[in-house]
Symmetry: C2
Subunit: 250 residues, 2 copies
DNA sequence: ATCCTTCTTATCAATCCGACAATAATTGGG
DNA sequence: CCCAATTATTGTCGGATTGATAAGAAGGAT
């Protein structure tokens, strides 16, 4: 940036950051992937107080010279042992959580992020516990939401799931939970895993087809007809897919 | 909360918040209202360095014992002089901005909020400048987005406008820019102001009517037929209204 | 060859959409 | 009082989209 006037440079040199209300800033990660047709979240079990033994989201402090997005990418590797060297994980900011009492130890504002990992539907990438955690493992999201979690992490996980479910109505973001090339059935099963429902195959294809690009290749499945492989074109789906709603909107 | 075990209480009493990377947390406000069929934003002109004389969003520090949402409501009153004693302003969190260099003075993470003020379409509520500002005034959003703003506030304002424009497709959030009771034409003019476009009246009515509740009352306009008064009801609009898009989705 | 499984395409009535026209309810002016 | 002007509301029409369901196509297995 070349916006510095003489007066402004002078001001900045004289400026002394004083005792402004100082708050620790962290990132918490909602890391999602699909296996066996079920949406899973990468969660850690807390090894120390508070909330010892309870499930929590992976996360950690934002370093002095990094943005929240950079911190999210770094903590994803550190806290879960996931090495995304090649795989391009989709990371987007979710929301910030700032209740003064959300952490009993000290004042912490957390910038939550949503992370989508590609998976072929079979085995999930292996996890290894980070610093503060006793263990890290994948848990079925819709089941684990029934039980309590550490801090306000149940709320964050719920918000992350709702964000993903909602965005899948009008974007092709679901493709980030699949390899670069995928079949229509794979994509539909991602929708079914996240929305926790069943979708008619024929109508799903009709609606989704205009928003995908055919590669020309086909799968060689063990049984049944071969399926065409597609890649997602990042675009808006309009009108959106319809998802049966439970309650009113926020 | 009654989750404190003996071991946990013991831990918390012994816990000493040490020198964790400490960052100042602020809120920035995108305050919007409609007047004369044009969407306006409440902006301040900076009275001191850096970015002296440039337009900026109102905002301020989050106090040690308040959440970001509470801080947003407080700063809305302090920085703009708006007293929302009676009027229920709609406040929702937008996103957080955490680039380490976004403020040249010190490390500041800002939790941006979107604020929608009700207006009858005529005069906008009066503004008065707060502490850090030389003046506070309403500016037409679509025009002011063409010129630069202080810090990353142009980005925040753009994000806020896009959030509102998008959410208006599938919710009745636009009603928060109007009094509790409003006519179909008033609501349509809010859509036209935010989307910066024209909408056919007949089709708009057909699409919106199921999501509003008729009060039975009517307006007494100076000229033309009287219009029915509605209140906003159902929150999800499905399928959504269609807005002509410019670029791909995020 | 025939069956089974899975992917893909087709059909059909009901609904919804954009474009546009017609009707209704007022005020103001001759 | 009657008519033009203005604004709100309702109606119409062909085309597109939807949900439900079925038919067709492409393999492998028996």
């Amino acid at each position: 940036m070349s916006r510095g006037s003489d007066a402004e440079r002078e001001f900045l040199e004289a400026y002394e950051p004083r005792d402004y209300p100082s708050i620790a800033v962290t990132v918490d990660l909602v890391v999602l992937a699909v296996a066996q047709g079920v949406l899973h979240a990468a969660l850690v079990r807390r090894g120390g107080h508070p909330f010892k033994g309870m499930l929590a989201l992976p996360g950690g402090f934002v370093a002095p010279r990094e943005s929240a997005g950079d911190a999210a990418a770094r903590e994803l590797a550190e806290e879960t042992g996931l090495d995304l060297g090649g795989l391009p994980a989709h990371i987007e900011q979710l929301a910030s959580y700032s209740d003064p009492d959300r952490d009993p130890r000290m004042r912490v504002v957390s910038v939550a992020h949503l992370v989508l990992l590609a998976s072929d539907g079979g085995a999930l990438p292996g996890l290894s516990a980070g610093t503060d955690a006793a263990s890290a493992a994948w848990h079925p999201v819709h089941a684990v939401l029934e039980s309590p979690m550490a801090f306000d992490h149940a709320t964050i996980l719920r918000d992350g799931l709702e964000r993903l479910a909602g965005k899948m109505e009008y974007t092709t973001v679901a493709a980030h939970l699949l390899p670069a090339e995928f079949t229509m059935t794979q994509l539909r099963s991602v929708y079914e895993a996240v929305w926790d429902t069943q979708l008619p195959a024929g109508n799903f294809t009709r609606k989704m087809l205009p928003h995908l690009a055919a590669t020309g290749r086909k799968t060689q499945p063990a049984v049944g007809a071969p399926a065409a492989l597609f890649t997602a074109e990042q675009r808006h789906i309009h009108p959106p897919l319809s998802r049966r709603r439970t309650g009113p909107a926020g």
